[in-house]
Symmetry: C2
Amino acid sequence: MTLRALRAEIAAVNDLLCASSVLVWDSRTMMPKGGAAARGHQIAALIEAARARLMGPATARALEGALREVESLPEDDAAVREVGAVRDALAFHARIPADLLRAKAELRAAANGAWIEARALSRFDLFEPYLTRTVALAREYAAAIGGGGHPYDALIGLYEPGETVASLETLFAALREGIRPLLERAAARPAPRLDVLRRSFPAERQRDFAAAIAARFGYDFDRGRLDFTVHPFEISFTRADVRLTLRRAETFDPPAIFGGFHEAGHGLYEQNVDEAYTRTALATDLVGFYAVGGTSFGAHESQSRLWENHVGRSPAFWARHFADLQAAFPDALGDIDADAFHAAITHVRPGAIRTDADELTYDLHIMLRVELEARLIAGEIEARDIPEAWNAAMRRDLGVAVASDAMGCLQDIHWSSGMIGSFCTYTIGNVMAAQLFVSAMGDPGVRDGLEAGDYAPLHHWLRERVWRHGRRFSRDELLVRATGRALDPAPYLAHLAARYGA
Amino acid sequence: MTLRALRAEIAAVNDLLCASSVLVWDSRTMMPKGGAAARGHQIAALIEAARARLMGPATARALEGALREVESLPEDDAAVREVGAVRDALAFHARIPADLLRAKAELRAAANGAWIEARALSRFDLFEPYLTRTVALAREYAAAIGGGGHPYDALIGLYEPGETVASLETLFAALREGIRPLLERAAARPAPRLDVLRRSFPAERQRDFAAAIAARFGYDFDRGRLDFTVHPFEISFTRADVRLTLRRAETFDPPAIFGGFHEAGHGLYEQNVDEAYTRTALATDLVGFYAVGGTSFGAHESQSRLWENHVGRSPAFWARHFADLQAAFPDALGDIDADAFHAAITHVRPGAIRTDADELTYDLHIMLRVELEARLIAGEIEARDIPEAWNAAMRRDLGVAVASDAMGCLQDIHWSSGMIGSFCTYTIGNVMAAQLFVSAMGDPGVRDGLEAGDYAPLHHWLRERVWRHGRRFSRDELLVRATGRALDPAPYLAHLAARYGA
């Protein structure tokens, strides 16, 4: 019964990590401002307790027996993967000095406050010492993780196991080559009417509309909820409680409604992980210490981008649902038709801000960040060089002159959170979404369903091939099983060309 | 530096208990219904982690040194009390078998579900097996705690250290004797107009009014919030985040608005514990495992009842604030004056439900429960005898015929939560509130302030004498310091006579 004993330990680890996620959700949606300092202590105590439980003698003892118990099973058996994930996590954490984790956690709290102030005042100098320290700790962390190759590879692997600087360079080169001509063609086209998006769209009605669409996608509100936040996110505390948030906007800010579809995609993944995996290593990131069932950050992003862009930004979607939107916002949309609306929400316009970016320029923002992070970790540049390097790359890649550091290198929260290595997963998500969507559309039931506004066949297709497997299969294993190929940019470029090349 | 090492351990225990409280708050206000089972696991894991930390070798080691470090300090020095609280908690928990705690926790989850169903169907037979088991575990728990005397004493001590069956009998006899003639006189008076309370009072506006009054009392919304729940409560995660909830009612249900004042009183206590005690044993109940700064349940209840009844139900309060209430509810109150309103909200009418009881009959509900619990724990009666014993006592003490078990012995959540021993603290709170209020009114600044609707002097008086001390002083130590006497029913009976004897 040692697998059973191992599961009891991991269940407790998952419970503590879920509790930490509840505290994170609360801190972003409900917590009064005075609670921030105490909340930082509480979350740190939970992570520390989870680590103590994972690295405790009971886990080690149970693991030894569990490894023997599963050794005769096939390599891709769920139990083999489950026990293997614990083994790998123990080996990972054994390499990381506790002092380094504490230093990272302490810095995160301070850096986040400094970043908020620096961004508000657009003063990079206020954030620079924190970024210098963040980079120094990230370099130490990468060295502790080890693994050879480019030092940034170790950090990428935290979020997207298997990807490296080298593999990303190949992928990014293909994407740049495909996107550049599309962008030139888009720039040459006249802009559609955009004023409609600036009309009044009351936030509560946007939320109700996003919730109604999420429910149509199959998101289960008995195991979830949708609230407003400044920065939208999805977070889960087992598959039984998976929450979404929405940006509060009073105009038709595309990141609001489409952000709702996006987070719903993340939520669908978590709500549909096999129930038998609940509170196991197949629904817990034991390396990154997140209670998450998706197999990688990129795989997770693929589900949000699939529902946001392939479903939610398609002409078929708005042919079917524009009337619902008109009914919800009669004052704003009375004189607009579905085609004009669709042209507005798919308009391509290079800009300074990643989260406002259209589908065609989004990856250029990501590649820029990945390139800067790799150079930072390699020591080719330092924190103080970032504003200049950022602005130069924005001019080179997007033709955008950055007006201020607040609109430039201070715009994203990631560096102040110590999340160096994660940006590439946004682009991997885009690529994987297209690859899965093309395969799903090969199923006539899925295709007919989408034409008819019936999302159940696509939901079913993804649940069977992606969601239910939790962390059992790697991203590329999922892709090979579902599409016959590992990650491949061709379907994504074809999608961009079809939507933006005409 | 061993006191410092001890504080680091206790801070982590407090962090984990605060996290548990966040999860409890969320489960009652925000959690989708699907999340309940996983949430039970998460809370259990947090309590287990807190216990492991408290009972771990680091705490024991640091305690030994800390005891030496404080041995030359005066007995009532804060550090002496702080270290003593840890020592007592370790001794307490060492006596409790881990199996018993696990059995209690498992039963609680099951018993709560059974109680909800039993109450909805008014079928005591569905709850009886759970109550039988709850009582059996409570008897075991009492035996493990030990201490001699009546076995119920050990359970009372969890909530109100120092009280016993014997001390409560003396207190209750005095209260019964004082209340009986007041109740007879009240019954002989004609009823005031009560229809006004049944008019429409939209819930959101009741909340806004309660929030405005809480703010006037000095409750700090930068470190708190007010939400709707089925059963109102106050809960805190350090003094920096202290939350209140309100019953949602669409009529002027006295438990709604007055419940708001009541919870604000609890909140004021927690928000004003000395900041230096944050995350220490002086702001953590290390025996009961609640992250709470109030020194006993009775002392806590004294603050809620003081603001609810002595302030909020006084003629002076409504002479000042009835116009605000009229302005918030012009349709319901346009034809009513402050005196008629005050007569309605202080009307005495014995009833079956504790939480709806008026000030004069409330303690009779409490004494009935205490008596039944004492007899259950002593083995004089068993769970199956409860409905009959309950109904007989209601007839005897309140002259009320109980229409159904849902309106009788199934009405309260306490037994399904395993909270046997806590009921007496409601009455102790009433007694202590009156004692403190009379002393406070001896201060002319407090008295003039209340007449003028200025609550700052009373706030200050209570903060200095009660709130800021956290768990440093016992309830009776606080009372002696503030009023010159230990718990004394005379001021409470005088208050009831003044308000209800005329």
